[in-house]
Structure formats: structure tokens, C-alpha cells
């Protein structure tokens, strides 16, 4: 059937394939062996632990908020771009690529300049009580900017994979545009949307270069790792690094598992 999603190929049993996959996994995760290096006793007590916990809270809460904004803004944007003509679409794709192409440090500098308090937007936000530097708002805004392009491009691929005939058929069967989205587009795109959101999440929560410029405070985990490294050395970095992995990984992993568990086979 033309509309059916094809099932993944049967699992290969060839030994060389397993060997190759094993080598690949080793290469992929090899940097993590650095955590076994002797750097002295890991440090968590006192101010190190308190600052680490605060950074975990900041990262999870504010990145979560940033992701809500990314999904709320990025999903309709991706739907709009999907329907755009060839030229408009090329323009949008160039704009999205540009947003993720910028070196993080450069993006941080540009954001700081664009949102300076004496500027129009920065001044307006300041009057609304949102400081655009070293504030939760600056933190969230920066994370939105660094991850939005990844989400929209991923969502665009997910929406493009849905045959237009399915949505047209749903509309001809009496569903309004919103109902077509909820009952056809979203269920069929959810695997791709989950992948896009995972990518946006890992990009945002691990962001250092842009955030360190715009929001040194409140410090999220990546910036706190830098502060620990500067102030206390590697023994203070290692436990926070472990905590970072444990805190940041479950959401994207869960999204992937949930989405893949409901593949249309």
C-alpha cells in the first residue's frame, strides 16, 4: 500500500556487521572514557554542590520553557513553510540554515548587541520587566535562538513526509484544518517531530558559547561547568558533568522511545 510506513529491515545477524557497529559505538562514546581519568577526588560538598544543583534546576526549567516556545512557534512556522512556493521555501530554508550556521559565540554577541537596552526591542523588553542580559529571559531567549532552526528544519522534514493526499482526503471527509492537523498530520509526523524536539533540546541544554555571553547568570549547567573549571578545577567538574548527562538525556531518549514504539507498521 502506498500510504503505509515501511517496517525497518530485519535485524542483521552477520558477525562483521555487529563488529562494525561495536567499533562505531566505541568511537562514538570514547570521549566519555575521560570521566574515568584520575583527576583527584570528585568534589560536590559545600558551595560546589549548591551551585551545581542550582545550575541543574536552571537548565531543566529554563530549557523546558525554551522548548515550549520553540514548539509553539516552530510548529506553525514549519507548517507555513511547507505550504510556501518554491522560491519562498528556499528563502526560508536559507534563513533557518543561517540561524544554525552562526558560531555560538557570534550568535551570543549578535544577540547582546541586537537586544541592547538602548535599542528598540531591548528597550521595549526592559520596560516590560525583561532584562535582555544576565536574566532568565535572556537565558530562554538565547536557547530559543540556538535551537529553533534545528526544530523547524526537522519538523519540516517530518511534515514533508506526509502525502498531501491524506490531508486532502481528511478534509473531504468533513474535517476542518485544525482537526486534520490533530487527527492526521500530527499522528503521522510525531516520530519526526519527536526527533526534531530531541535535537533542539540537546542543542539548547548543552549550549555554552552563546549563553555565556548573554546569560552568565543565572548559570545553567554548561556555564556552571566552566565556572567550576575556573574556580575549583576538574574534581568539581566531573560530578556536574555526570549530573548533566543524567539530567539532559532522559527527555530526548524518552521522546525517541515513545515515538518509535508507535511506528505505523
Amino acid at each position: 500500500m502506498g500510504t503505509a510506513t515501511t517496517a525497518p529491515p530485519a535485524r542483521s545477524r552477520r558477525p562483521w556487521a555487529h563488529l562494525g557497529a561495536g567499533v562505531f559505538a566505541l568511537l562514538l562514546l570514547y570521549p566519555l572514557t575521560g570521566m574515568l581519568a584520575r583527576v583527584g577526588p570528585w568534589q560536590w560538598s559545600g558551595p560546589v554542590g549548591a551551585a551545581s544543583l542550582a545550575s541543574i534546576r536552571v537548565s531543566l526549567l529554563l530549557t523546558g520553557l525554551a522548548m515550549l516556545i520553540v514548539v509553539a512557534v516552530g510548529t506553525p512556522a514549519a507548517l507555513y513553510i511547507r505550504r510556501a512556493g518554491r522560491r519562498a521555501r528556499a528563502w526560508w530554508q536559507a534563513a533557518l540554515l543561517l540561524s544554525i550556521l552562526l558560531p555560538a559565540l557570534a550568535l551570543g554577541i549578535l544577540l547582546t548587541l541586537a537586544l541592547r537596552p538602548e535599542g528598540v526591542v531591548g528597550g521595549l523588553l526592559l520596560r516590560l520587566g525583561m532584562a535582555t542580559s544576565n536574566s532568565p529571559a535572556a537565558f530562554v531567549l538565547t536557547q530559543v535562538y540556538v535551537s529553533l532552526g534545528y526544530y523547524v528544519l526537522g519538523a519540516l522534514v517530518a511534515f514533508d513526509a506526509i502525502p498531501a493526499g491524506l490531508e486532502q482526503q481528511a478534509a473531504l471527509l468533513g474535517l476542518r484544518a485544525g482537526q486534520v492537523f490533530a487527527r492526521v498530520t500530527l499522528p503521522l509526523a510525531r516520530l519526526g517531530l519527536a526527533a526534531a524536539l530531541s535535537l533542539a533540546w540537546v542543542r539548547a541544554i548543552g549550549e555554552f558559547g552563546a549563553v555565556v555571553i548573554t546569560a552568565y547568570y543565572p548559570a545553567g549547567m554548561p556555564v556552571q561547568l566552566w565556572i567550576h573549571l575556573q574556580s575549583f578545577g576538574l574534581p568539581a567538574v566531573m560530578p556536574l558533568l555526570l549530573a548533566f548527562l543524567l539530567a539532559a538525556l532522559p527527555l530526548p531518549l524518552l521522546l525517541h522511545l515513545l515515538a518509535q514504539g508507535r511506528r505505523h507498521v
Binding site: M1, T3, G165, Q168, L173, R176, P187
Partner: protein, 233 residues
Amino acid sequence: MFEVAIQKRRRGLTVDVAFCLEEGAALGLFGPSGAGKSTVLACLAGVQIPDSGRIRLGDSLLFPPPLPLHRRSVGYLTQEPNLFPHLTVEGNVAFGLPRVRARTVEQRAWLERLRRQLHLDDCWSASVTRISAGQARRVALARMLAHRPALVLLDEPFTGLDRALVRGLVADLLEWRQALGFTLVAVDHQAEVLSRLCPQVLAMEAGRIVERGSWAELRRASSESLRALLNPL
């Protein structure tokens, strides 16, 4: 009355057709590939917008302005069954109808009748990704009929099926047309199939109507290409 007058520019071709049809009548569009038959059907369904013209179905003006798809009483079957792969056969057939608990007794009986008469009992609870091509066409037909459309548009929905299966589906369609009284406009490259569905035919070439009338009249037509299509052997 179903009144159609549409102009639609495509790459290198302008489709320009006009016809009137009594409600409940059946009309076949016949002609070589690229004649614009599918474009006409797509415009009637609303998935393409004509450049100009007028489409009226009874009291309902379909164009202009283009009536939103969800407000048209139109069933549209194409070569692709376009079943929703995340739903079961039942989910597809009942798509757009009220949810199970909210269905009236009449709606339940109607779905039951479709299930029985279109031989969907065996696969009713199966995912549509697990059914055969023939079953998929029956599901698409049942899903369309479930909404009792006033106008049914068939764009070669039997392509790729064996003759026995096509004969069965055509018989089903004729039976349901008699029961529901919908207006039918069909396109098929097989004259044999189309003539069984529609006693009246419009022959199209290069975007325009070149002949209209019964199949007997079409056979007497002067166009070489049409005669070749009618008698491929």
C-alpha cells in the same frame, strides 16, 4: 443539476471544459494521457483551484470562490487509496463520523451495512498497513460511502488491480450508486470499465472536449486517437 465550466492552465496546456449533468447521473471522462481529465476531477474535488469558471452542485456553489474541502459533499477516489496508516480499517471507514459512543443507531447500522456488503469483516480491526491492495480499495470505497456524498469522483481508482477485482468493485459501485443516488464523474483509461460505470461520456484531447454523447456515438467518432483508445487491440 451539476453545472461545470472551468478553465485551468497547466504546463503547456489549458484545460477548458463545460458540461451539465442531471443530479444522480453518471459521466465518464475519456481520452489519452495528458488530456486534462485528472485536472478536471481535481478541480471538481477542490484539491486544485480553477483559474476561472463556475462549478455548481445543486444549491451549493463549489467555485468561485472555492468552497472549503470540508464543506463539500464530495467523495474522491484516486489511484492511491490514501488510507490513514495510523488507523485500523474501522478507524478509516468511520473517519469523520462521530466517535463510537456518540454514534446514532442509524450511523451504527450504516457502518455495519458497509462492513458487511463490502466484505470487510475479516479485516475490520486490522491496521490498514496489513491489508491487501484489493481490500485497501474496498476500505477507501467504504470510507467515502460512509459520508453519503452527493458527488463521487473516481480518478482511475482501479489501476493495478486484476480484472476480477475490478469487476467486483465496479459492481459494488453501481449498486451503491443506485442505493445512494450520487452523481458520478469518472476517469479511467479502460473504456470497458468506464462504459460499465457511465452510460454518457465526454472525450477529451489536449484539454478540450472533442466528443460527447453515448459510447456508441463515441465509437463513431472521427478522431483516430480516440478510436485507437477504444479498440486497443
